[in-house]
């Protein structure tokens, strides 16, 4: 296979990591909403944890994006 084509395919495959980030962010916000509707008075206290979880989940997907960019621009 042409190495340039293999590089592009590899970068595309590395971007699949964002699937996990999508599932993670959905789980975090979905569960927060579920908990918040069951006990609305406790919801504001967990808002900082919600944002922390969102940022951590989003970052794991972006690690995959970094690998895609390394494949494209470093090798």
């Amino acid at each position: 296979m042409d190495p340039a084509a293999a590089k592009l395919i590899g970068a595309g495959l590395a971007s699949i990591a964002l699937v996990g980030a999508g599932i993670g962010i959905g789980t975090i916000f979905g569960n927060y909403l579920q908990g918040a509707l069951r006990n609305p008075s406790a919801a504001p206290g967990q808002f900082a944890n919600l944002l922390l979880g969102f940022a951590l989940a989003e970052a794991t997907g972006l690690f995959g994006l970094v690998i895609a960019l390394i494949i494209l621009f470093v090798f």
């Binding site: 944002l51 922390l52 969102f54 940022a55 951590l56 989003e58 970052a59 972006l62 690690f63 994006l65 970094v66 960019l69 621009f73």
Partner: protein, 242 residues
């Protein structure tokens, strides 16, 4: 389509060499100086009145102080208060670098891995030194989880050590990747607006407006996450909770 990576290019303003190391004054240095100057301006000039009823600038300085002080108190405890200055400095520096990067035509310092890795390495080395200074060689017990079968220990200790050693990498890559991905995406969609013209450009423009809002949220959130993870690592080193 213009190259979306062009915005991360480092331009030299003043050529400098220090002991054989290239220490030129670049656009990255300029924006770090601007960040430090605006933080100092906000805190020093804002607190000059020391009024009981704060002015807007003073309340901004007080709010940021309170925010980080509460974060340190909640996550590290009262004996962690002596590390408040470093957490505050890290939080404000990352926050201002991220926020300055959101201005058009500016440069995002934190979108370069070397900057974030230097900050993360500072945290990692500092926390490790604090851990060994507080507990001596007992700090090695941190890598031995309690309440697990002895047969599993060799495996778990290796995993714990690896997870400890990847902390600076995950801490730096998280911030760098968020900043770089966000700014690249803004540039790509900006090119769509120009490419589709007056008739079709409205849809990506509306998306851009919403996405800029999200990016400002992410800029704050990543500074918050960086500071809170520093607090969590400090707490691990000081109290060795497991």
């Amino acid at each position: 389509m213009p190259n979306p990576m062009h915005q991360f290019e480092i331009k030299r303003f003043i050529d400098l060499e220090f002991l054989g190391v290239d220490a030129s004054f670049t656009n990255a240095s300029l924006f770090m100086v601007i960040a430090i100057a605006s933080i100092s301006f906000m805190t020093i000039w804002g607190m000059r009145g020391r009024a009981l009823v704060p002015t807007r600038m003073q309340s901004l300085a007080e709010l940021s102080y309170e925010f980080v002080a509460n974060m340190v108190r909640d996550n590290v405890g009262t004996d962690g208060q002596k590390y408040f200055p470093i957490v505050f400095s890290l939080f404000m520096f990352v926050l201002f670098c991220n926020m300055l990067g959101m201005m058009p035509y500016s440069f995002t310092v934190t979108s370069h891995i070397i900057v974030t890795f230097a900050l993360a390495a500072l945290v990692f080395i500092g926390v490790t030194i604090i851990g060994f200074a507080t507990h001596g060689f007992g700090f090695f017990k941190f890598f031995v989880p309690s309440g697990v079968p002895v047969a599993l220990l060799p495996l778990l200790v290796v995993i714990e050590v690896i997870s400890y050693l990847t902390r600076p990498i995950s801490l730096s890559v998280r911030l760098f990747a968020n900043m770089m991905a966000g700014h690249t995406m803004l540039k790509v969609f900006g090119a769509f607006v120009v490419g589709l013209g007056v008739i079709g450009g409205w849809a990506p423009l509306a998306f851009m407006v919403a996405f800029t809002g999200l990016e400002i949220l992410v800029a704050f959130l990543q500074a918050y996450v960086f500071a809170i993870l520093t607090c969590i690592y400090l707490n691990d080193a000081l109290h060795m909770h497991h």
